[in-house]
């Protein structure tokens, strides 16, 4: 059952306020995923503070470094059900978890951070992982 929109609103805003596009419908996800070129970060947001409470600030810290992906977006698990299901359809071999973070390069999934790799870690730890991925794929693009 979806959570109260009032409860979820600040959790959505924690990402939208830093420029993460919110994908509310399956059509939104399709449209966003249609563009293949460049790098794209897709966040599966969620309510539970056990991990999401560190994921969102970790994403913010990583994006504040200024060297982030070309595009960022999020879907909200347990809330925007069709959008989340469609998003997970782009990495069907990976068991669903939320929060989780997928990183695409030219439309191909090249990195995935599942929930259990976020749990119990700090926002700085999450940011460090993401920044390393951003740097790696920027370096590959520059070398190419």
């Amino acid at each position: 059952m979806p959570y109260s929109p009032l409860l979820v609103k600040p959790m959505r805003e924690e990402l939208t306020q830093i420029g993460v596009e919110e994908l509310l419908t399956a059509e939104d996800v399709e449209r966003w995923m249609e563009k293949k070129e460049g790098t794209a970060l897709l966040v599966v947001n969620s309510v539970c503070g056990c991990a999401a409470g560190m994921a969102r600030p970790g994403i913010r810290l990583a994006l504040e470094n200024g060297s982030g992906p070309d595009r960022t977006a999020s879907v909200f698990a347990g809330q925007d059900l069709e959008a989340t299901a469609r998003a997970r359809g782009f990495f069907p071999e990976i068991p669903p978890s939320s929060p989780s973070i997928a990183f695409f390069k030219d439309g191909e999934l090249v990195y995935f951070l599942p929930r259990h790799r976020i749990e119990g870690r700090s926002a700085e730890d999450v940011a460090r992982d993401l920044t390393a991925v951003f740097d790696e794929h920027r370096a590959v693009a520059a070398a190419g």
Binding site: P10, C48, G49, R56, H116, R117, E119
Partner: protein, 90 residues
């Protein structure tokens, strides 16, 4: 910002590996645990050798991307449990 949970074990909400003295190993989100039982949500179970994979093989794959939910809720008697570890620390 997140939700808060009171009266639960310190591993509440954490994805854990529950190993047993027998062939079974479980992976799931810990709901609660005490001296009597471990309660897992959205859990999977693997039996040593199942599908040609040892417990170690299975856990290596689980540590990478997680597990598929095959049981919404499992209650494991504590006397069968030999260890409870965070999957993220494997």
């Amino acid at each position: 910002m997140g939700t808060f949970h009171t009266g639960k074990s310190e591993l509440h909400g954490i994805t854990v590996v529950v190993d047993t003295a027998g062939p079974e190993v479980y992976v799931g989100r810990c709901d609660d645990m005490d001296d009597e039982r471990v309660i897992l949500l959205d859990a999977d179970v693997h039996r040593d050798g199942e599908g040609g994979r040892s417990k170690g093989d299975y856990l290596a794959a689980a540590a990478r991307h997680g597990v598929w939910c095959r049981h919404r809720r499992l209650v494991l008697p504590r006397h069968r449990v030999t260890s409870v570890r965070r999957l993220g620390e494997l």
